[in-house]
């Protein structure tokens, strides 16, 4: 089995166990200030980093290309309170159009 399959299975089982732990573990054990704050901030940091890397990185280098324009379109759509699918599709269409025009 490929390493990617292991990541899929281990990632999936791990995420399920994290859910089960929340329902099964006594609340007092995990419901502490620093746990709560970190659980609050970790998704923010990871998502922001994923945005940055997805848009700005090409291998080991940093680049500014059609993906950045796509992200700009996403920002506009989010400000207009567009639904999720429209935001994603708008970003893709913007990048695709730009590439088409650039040949």
């Amino acid at each position: 089995m490929s390493a990617l399959w292991w990541a899929v299975l281990a990632g999936g089982v791990g995420c399920y166990l994290l859910k089960l732990a929340g329902l099964a573990v006594p609340a007092s054990l995990l419901d502490r200030g620093w746990v709560r704050r970190s659980a609050d901030l970790v998704p923010v940091a990871l998502l922001a980093a994923l945005v940055a890397v997805q848009v700005g990185a090409e291998g080991q280098g940093l680049v500014l290309d059609a993906r950045a324009a796509g992200l700009g379109a996403a920002v506009v759509l989010l400000l207009l309170r567009a639904p999720f699918l429209l935001v994603v599709a708008g970003a893709a269409a913007t990048a695709a159009l730009l590439r088409l025009l650039a040949g």
């Binding site: 990617l4 399959w5 292991w6 990541a7 899929v8 990632g11 999936g12 089982v13 791990g14 995420c15 399920y16 994290l18 859910k19 732990a21 929340g22 329902l23 099964a24 609340a27 995990l30 200030g33 620093w34 704050r37 970190s38 659980a39 609050d40 901030l41 970790v42 998704p43 923010v44 940091a45 990871l46 998502l47 922001a48 980093a49 994923l50 940055a52 890397v53 997805q54 848009v55 700005g56 990185a57 291998g59 080991q60 280098g61 940093l62 059609a66 993906r67 796509g70 992200l71 996403a74 989010l78 639904p83 999720f84 699918l85 994603v88 970003a91 893709a92 269409a93 695709a96 159009l97």
Partner: protein, 254 residues
């Protein structure tokens, strides 16, 4: 899955299952049912974007579908395929998904006493524990309505999310080179849309900017996948540093 609303736990107080008991109003049940199905439809259908993005990132249709069936928490799924797409090691990809999945643990802590399930029911219910099912359960005034909201929302999303993942994955395979359709740009937009509702808090904005900066700074220096995990470290550090602030805020509100 993170949807485009605030953390469900931020704004609503958990219901008290020990409220005075009378028979549940059928109209209230219908309202919970309707709301749950509406959220399920809105959320489940964007599984199509996950499916397309996942095969564009190099996963097979089978891997994509297993991910939706087994992991079933959207942000973690997008993160795993995002790290794979950027060339990260499978372990970094899984670890990023786990870190994002810790959010659900917190939801479970809040919902556990409210739902009151034990044994096999709890083991099954855990799989449906995501942002939306939590949001649709935690605000209910009665345990019965909370259970209904949780099951209808979580179950509805599970069915639709997996169906639309398959559609997106098969569609994405047929399309050919994903860059032609800008699917690589769609990944960043998806993460931004997931992040967006969390940016109303100034501390969150600061953490987001720091994390993005740290990640970009590390891209030329480290293996792919590491920059994102390091950004998680920024969050832990800020969580500790923000302790004083949070304590003073808690002191005021209590």
């Amino acid at each position: 899955m993170i949807r485009r609303h605030h953390d469900p736990l931020d704004r609503v107080d958990p219901a008290d299952p020990a409220d005075p008991v009378d028979p549940v109003d059928p109209a209230a049940r219908r309202a919970v049912l309707r709301d749950g199905l509406g959220v399920a439809l809105a959320t489940g259908t964007y599984g199509v974007s996950f499916g397309a993005v996942s095969v564009a990132s190099g996963l097979s249709v089978a891997q994509t579908c297993v991910l939706s069936l087994l992991m079933f928490t959207g942000a973690s799924q997008f993160a795993l395929v995002g790290v794979v797409a950027s060339g990260g090691a499978p372990l970094s990809a899984a670890a990023t998904a786990w870190l994002l999945g810790t959010r659900n643990t917190l939801y479970g802590l809040r919902l556990g006493p409210l739902l009151g399930w034990r044994g096999r029911r709890r083991v099954l219910a855990a799989h449906l524990l995501i942002d939306e099912s939590t949001a649709m359960a935690v605000a209910r005034p009665r345990a019965e309505l909370a259970r209904l909201g949780f099951l209808v929302t979580g179950g509805g999303i599970f069915v639709l999310w997996n169906l639309f993942t398959l559609l997106g994955a098969v569609g994405g395979t047929v399309l050919g080179d994903p860059r032609t359709y800008g699917l690589d740009a769609a990944v960043g937009a998806a993460f931004l849309a997931l992040l967006w509702p969390r940016l109303s808090d100034p501390l969150h904005r600061l953490v987001a900017v720091l994390a993005a900066g740290v990640a970009l700074g590390l891209v030329p220096l480290t293996a792919a996948g590491v920059p994102v995990l390091a950004a998680g470290g920024v969050a832990l550090l800020t969580g500790l540093l923000a302790g004083v602030r949070a304590r003073s805020r808690a002191g005021r509100s209590s």
